[in-house]
């Protein structure tokens, strides 16, 4: 019927109920562009309206059903055909029939579980989206609305420092210390390097943050290393007994929380790489894994009750009353 463009068609449009008040977050897409999407947390309800607007008023639109889905899926770039859906909810909005005029349908996915954070990486993408479909005999009409999910944690109960003495025999001995092993995304890495023995001629020292994305299982494991930050901490040669301080602010870098074995499909881990470079450009390095986590933003009084309870789904124990009073303190 629509071969010659004379058949009826429709534009469909998904609008969230809280579009005015809900915060948006920036997220990088596969081609590197940064776009803003509505931000959701685990447990929040996703509700809105689906507007079906007929292209040619007066003409009927026959259809085989109208539905809306909420999907969370993992897509591996080397295996594009297979999408691994870990959340898949559907609401049927209309039984097969016909529309004689434009129509709006309400939908609500109540307290949806969103266990993982949205992630777009070099070999893998994890995304959440709403997909509305008007099924028809020959071709469906469908529309997607992407959202971004952040996973929040609270200050870990156990956060020991990292302290180690490393060296190359008779050549270079250092003791390095980082104040924590778990840092939130806007944290500061405070540390120091203490030189016990320096028999090589060091020119400078830097600390790098390396992101390692691991996809695949068994024999087909891919590692993608990306140096997210390089920060020089010493220029010139150190002397025995000298302590070099480290103060590295994480907020300026493009980092995500540490993700371990997400749905058994991929991991994203972060490492601090301490690099010493000598006068002949030889590099001596020591890598150390750190855990990155996302801290919930300061809760504003206008934030919905829903979002407050969602932000309380923490890693590690947290008393809801206590955290609400903490949030009230912060809210100055």
């Amino acid at each position: 019927m629509s071969f010659f463009g004379f058949g009826q068609s429709a534009d469909i449009d998904i609008v969230l109920n809280d579009a005015e008040t809900r915060k948006k977050a920036e997220h990088k897409s596969e081609d590197g562009r940064k776009d803003k999407y509505f931000l959701f947390f685990d447990g929040e309800t996703v509700s809105g309206k689906l507007n079906v607007t007929l292209k040619y008023p007066g003409k009927r639109l026959e259809h085989n059903g109208i539905k809306i889905e909420f999907i969370g899926q993992i897509e591996l770039y080397y295996d594009r055909g297979n999408h691994h859906e870990f959340v898949s909810l559907v609401k049927d909005l209309a039984r097969p029939g016909e529309l004689t005029q434009s129509q709006t349908y309400d939908f609500e996915f109540t307290h949806v579980e969103k266990p993982y954070e949205s992630y777009t990486g070099q070999n893998v993408k994890l995304r959440y989206f709403l997909r509305a479909t008007v099924s028809r005999r020959l071709s469906d009409i469908s529309k997607e609305l992407d959202i971004v999910v952040h996973t929040l944690s609270t200050y870990p109960e156990l956060n020991s420092s990292i302290k180690m003495e490393v060296g190359i025999e008779d050549c270079l001995h250092i003791e390095f210390e980082y104040n924590k092993s778990k840092y939130h995304l806007k944290d500061v890495i405070v540390g120091k390097i203490y030189f016990l023995l320096v028999r090589i001629k060091i020119k400078h020292m830097e600390i790098d943050i390396i992101k390692r994305e691991t996809t695949g299982t068994g024999p087909n494991v891919y590692h993608e290393n990306d140096t997210v930050a390089k920060y020089e901490i010493m220029d010139g040669a150190p002397v025995r007994g000298e302590s070099i301080p480290i103060r590295l602010f994480l907020a300026g870098y493009e980092i995500t929380p540490t993700m371990r074995d997400i749905n058994k499909k991929f991991s994203v881990r972060y490492y601090l790489n301490l690099v010493l470079i000598d006068e002949e450009e030889r590099r001596y390095f020591k890598q150390q894994e750190i855990t990155l986590w996302r801290k919930g933003d300061i809760v504003r009084k206008s934030m919905s009750h829903q979002a407050i309870s969602a932000a309380q789904r923490f890693e590690g124990s947290s008393n809801p009353e206590k955290s609400q009073s903490k949030n009230a303190e912060d809210d100055s």
Partner: protein, 189 residues
């Protein structure tokens, strides 16, 4: 546990540096001079030797002060030995200057002053870069080149220390348990 609104960025406590460490001689003193070219031999069989003088306080070198005479082909020998036995990338030598060995040149050829100076500087840079490399310091050929009267080309190549040096310049943890710290006793790459 009440959490700070602003992160604590104060420096970690560190031991104050000992003044003898601060003002003492560096533990990485290594200087090698290549100088005093002397022409040896007569006629067609002439060649140049250079004095190679080393001053160091690195414990890996047996002599803290040594002085030997070496010719260009000795440097070539050292380069080949290191390329074969050690895992390092050996820096380049100054050129072999084959053209200068041809007859009927207008100048002194291989013994021209400016050429000797160029070659001397190149050899000096080469040997300093090599001798400072921790992996090269493990090779017997380097020690023989720098500190023995003559080079025994029939020597048995090998490492100076029987315990192997790390294959790459990554740290091996020599850690012991520290209060509040992690313990790792395994070498990592």
């Amino acid at each position: 546990m009440s959490e700070p609104a602003v992160a604590d960025t104060r420096r970690l406590n560190s031991k104050p540096q000992d003044l003898t460490d601060a003002y003492g001689p560096p533990s990485n003193f290594l200087e090698i001079d290549v100088y005093d070219p002397q022409i040896v031999g007569v006629g067609r069989n002439r060649y140049t030797t250079y004095e190679v003088r080393m001053k160091t306080n690195l414990p890996i070198f047996k002599l803290k002060d040594s002085c030997v005479r070496r010719r260009y082909s000795d440097f070539e020998w050292l380069k080949n030995e290191l390329e074969r036995d050690s895992k390092i990338v050996v820096p380049p030598l100054p050129g072999k200057a084959l053209k200068r060995q041809l007859p009927f040149r207008g100048d002194e050829g291989l013994f021209e002053e400016s050429f000797l100076e160029e070659r001397r500087a190149g050899l000096e840079q080469f040997i300093n870069r090599i001798a400072g490399h921790p992996l090269a310091q493990n090779e017997r050929c380097l020690h023989m080149f720098l500190q023995e009267e003559s080079i025994d080309r029939n020597y048995i190549p090998g490492k100076r220390k029987p315990s192997a040096a790390p294959a790459s310049c990554t740290f091996i943890s020599t850690s012991r348990h520290n209060a509040g710290g992690n313990v790792r006793a395994v070498s990592t790459l």
